[in-house]
Amino acid sequence: MRRFFILLWLYRQKVMRNTFNIISAVVVACALFLSVSCTPGSCFEETNSYLKATFYRTSQGKPVPPDSLSMYGIGKDSAVYKKASRVQPALIPLDPSASACGFLIRINGVDDTVSFFYSTFTHLISRECGYTFFHDLDSLAYTRNIIDTILIKFRTISTFNEPNIFIYY
């Protein structure tokens, strides 16, 4: 919009009434565009897609993050979260090489397991960042020690910020 007003001002100042001036201005603008396009090739975007889980207190019916949250992928030694507090939403990484994966979720010291069933597809993030995997969540299964229910809100698991599931506990 600012460029438009600059051009309008130039026109009013009779600078751009000549054809050559107009063409030259377009050429210079294009050259500027070229130089602006030459940005360094660094990746500043999120490259991992996570299943976003928002925690709800069943008794209160509103989003309440757990006081303590631990999360381990089944078959993995390392933790996604280890006694983390006030995590909202929890970012759960799915396994792109499989069509299902499970997690041990410890909410306020009580263990539950959640299994996710999904399909995976490739997504180009950008030229700088390359490719990642997105998922379509088909279904899930879970134990009910502290978890009351899990609702699927948005099935596409991507690098964007939509919440995918609501965990009521």
């Binding site: 377009v26 396009s37 490739t122 030229r127």
Partner: protein, 310 residues
């Protein structure tokens, strides 16, 4: 000088700009700084030569225009030869000479319809490869462009030899896109995968302001800046192409430049009348500025309508 050299070698294709970082941070530049005195001198000489060559390319048409303007005589009409023009874009091979990962070859044919309008048909081939720390990419295919060129010069200045105006084209790009390998890492480990070759048919619009001048009899050179808008990438958004032949990187808008060498074949002459303006009733000196000698032109052959050109 290193900065200029780095800039000149990097500026041509937009896509390559991402490969190199800021002008003085490019790997080529860093390497140059680390080599000995002899290499430095060679680099400086190459810089000067490259700079002179590019300046020559850009200034030649301008020189021709200035000559044309000076020789223009005030007449009632001028004879304009209509031509069939065929040429090649030399920026593609020039870029390939410095960077073997992009090969673009483009040729075109255009036919003058009258002193202002010309039909344009272009076609080309592109072979592109790109490699980054976590993926490789290949694209190979051809493209076709069709559209119109509008000459904004006055007929007595253009005289069938000079062109300054804007081209508008519609382009179709067809290519085989492939990602031979890519790696992705997350909590579950590192995964290597590949995307098999798949066919893409992209569509785009191109606006090309530029200049062209006849240097010798029936031999023209000229350059244009090309702004392109992608209409359809030809693929769902998850796997949009990184490179489309004739279009460039898969962004929604791209820009590029072309330098054409053309051979012209005159096929017909038309006489274009120069009609003087009637003096205006309410003449405003401030508004008119230097346009007192403006005229409107009418194609005597009947193919062109009377058009006011500035």
């Amino acid at each position: 000088m290193n900065r200029i050299y780095s800039y000149i070698t990097d500026i041509s294709p937009v896509s390559r700009c991402n490969t190199y970082l800021l002008p003085c941070m490019s790997s080529r530049c860093i390497m140059t700084l680390r080599t000995g005195q002899a290499t430095r001198w060679i680099t400086v000489l190459r810089t000067i030569m490259t700079f002179c060559f590019i300046m020559t390319l850009f200034l030649l048409p301008g020189t021709a225009f200035s000559q044309a303007g000076g020789n223009a005589e005030v007449k009632d009409s001028v004879d304009i030869p209509l031509k069939i023009r065929t040429g090649i874009d030399i920026t593609g091979p020039a870029i390939w000479f410095t960077d073997k990962s992009i090969l673009t070859a483009e040729a075109y044919i255009s036919t003058d319809l009258n002193e202002k309008f010309a039909l344009f048909l272009g076609a080309g081939y592109s072979d592109y490869s790109y490699s980054q720390y976590n993926y490789d990419y290949l694209s190979k295919g051809s493209f076709f462009k069709a559209g119109m060129d509008f000459n904004l010069l006055r007929p007595e200045i253009a005289a069938g030899k000079y062109w300054a105006g804007i081209g508008i084209r519609y382009g179709i790009s067809s290519c085989l896109s492939e990602t031979p390998s890519f790696t992705h890492e997350n909590y579950w480990g590192s995964i290597s995968s590949a995307i098999k070759p798949y066919r893409i048919m992209g569509h785009y619009l191109e606006i090309s302001p530029g200049f062209r001048a006849e240097l010798f009899k029936n031999f023209s050179i000229g350059w244009s800046v090309n702004l392109r808008k992608l209409i359809s990438p030809g693929q769902k958004k998850d796997l949009r192409p990184l490179w489309l032949p004739g279009y460039g990187s898969g962004e929604s808008v791209t820009a590029g430049a072309a330098y054409y060498i053309s051979w012209n074949i005159p096929y017909r002459k038309i006489r274009v009348g120069l009609k003087k303006d009637e003096p205006e009733e309410y003449y405003d000196d401030d508004e008119s500025g230097g346009s007192r000698e403006d005229r409107s032109y009418r194609s005597i052959s009947g193919s062109g309508a009377g058009n006011r050109l500035r």
